[in-house]
Amino acid sequence: MNDGKTAWRNIRIFASLVLIGAVMAPIFLSDASWPVTARDYLMAQGQAESGAVNLVSAIYLGYRAFDTLGETIVLLIAVTGTLSLLARVESLVSPGPEDTSSPNAKGFSLSLEKRVSHALRTNLLEEVTGKVGPIVLLFGFYVMLYGHLSPGGGFQGGVIIASGIVFLALGNPYEDKSVLVRPAILGGMENIAFLLFILSAMSGVFLEEGFFGNPLAVSGTPEGFIILMNCIIGMKVGSSLAFMCIVMMGGANHD
């Protein structure tokens, strides 16, 4: 009975795909020569101006640091919003069709009552993740601190640190959790890191360099500012992602 309707729907969808394709095609298929002015300027001046050997870091945390601030704000909003929705998902008393049909999909549940019923998990996972966690953390700090010299930086380091923290949380689920894996602590760290980021972005104002100006520009070590920003971003990203993952794994029983 719905055949005509479905056909009409398909026709409209096809027509809009054709229309959009026609608008997109010139952009995708263009072979205009790529501009080199910005690249040449950066190659000549970038290292001296920002102090970073890695030009991508120089742009990311120097020339266009305001975009990076926007990006961390987006992350902050996403984490806050996801967690508030998550709390409501957990509190919905009447779940839809039962989700027990998918045992494999329940890979990492942390809360004790769920774990007892879970035969697939062995001690091996806990042993390995618990031991590997600190090493992953160390690697994360390396990536974070050397962002101005080699590929990587605060954000990437932060993600690795977050996975290290998650490993630690998986490693010792029963008791004496280290301080690092408590959701409350992680949430607090996230907020403090955000505050620090804003403050360090404002610091240039008091040194006549303007917002996001490099307060160390005249001191001879301009890379110091990038290292500082990398650390703050790493702390922010690491704590917020770890916070989100741990709350997701453990349900909403955080406070």
């Binding site: 991508v56 839809g96 989700d99 999909a105 890979g107 590929p151 954000f155 993600v159 690795i160």
Partner: protein, 79 residues
């Protein structure tokens, strides 16, 4: 090499969109992210490659799996 990787990405995308098991789709999306990361590495963009690997293949997969754990895995096929 670039063309090969792009073809692989397209195939994975088609698989992800047409498989009826959402978890398979998530794995395919994660594989797309990894292929992208390799592609970025070949294209002289190591920073982007690291980010894509960590964020695309890592974090977003975790979130996808979490979402499926809280809902259902199979796509319901009722018209």
């Amino acid at each position: 090499m670039t063309i090969l990787l792009l073809t692989l990405i397209i195939l994975l995308a088609v698989f992800a969109l047409f498989s009826s098991d959402l978890l398979h789709g998530v794995v395919a999306m994660s594989a797309i992210s990894l292929s992208c990361a390799i592609l970025f590495y070949i294209l002289e963009a190591p920073d982007v490659a690291i980010t894509e690997a960590a964020v695309g293949a890592g974090v977003s997969t975790v979130i996808f799996v979490w979402a499926l754990r809280h809902s259902q895995r199979k796509e319901d096929r009722h018209e």
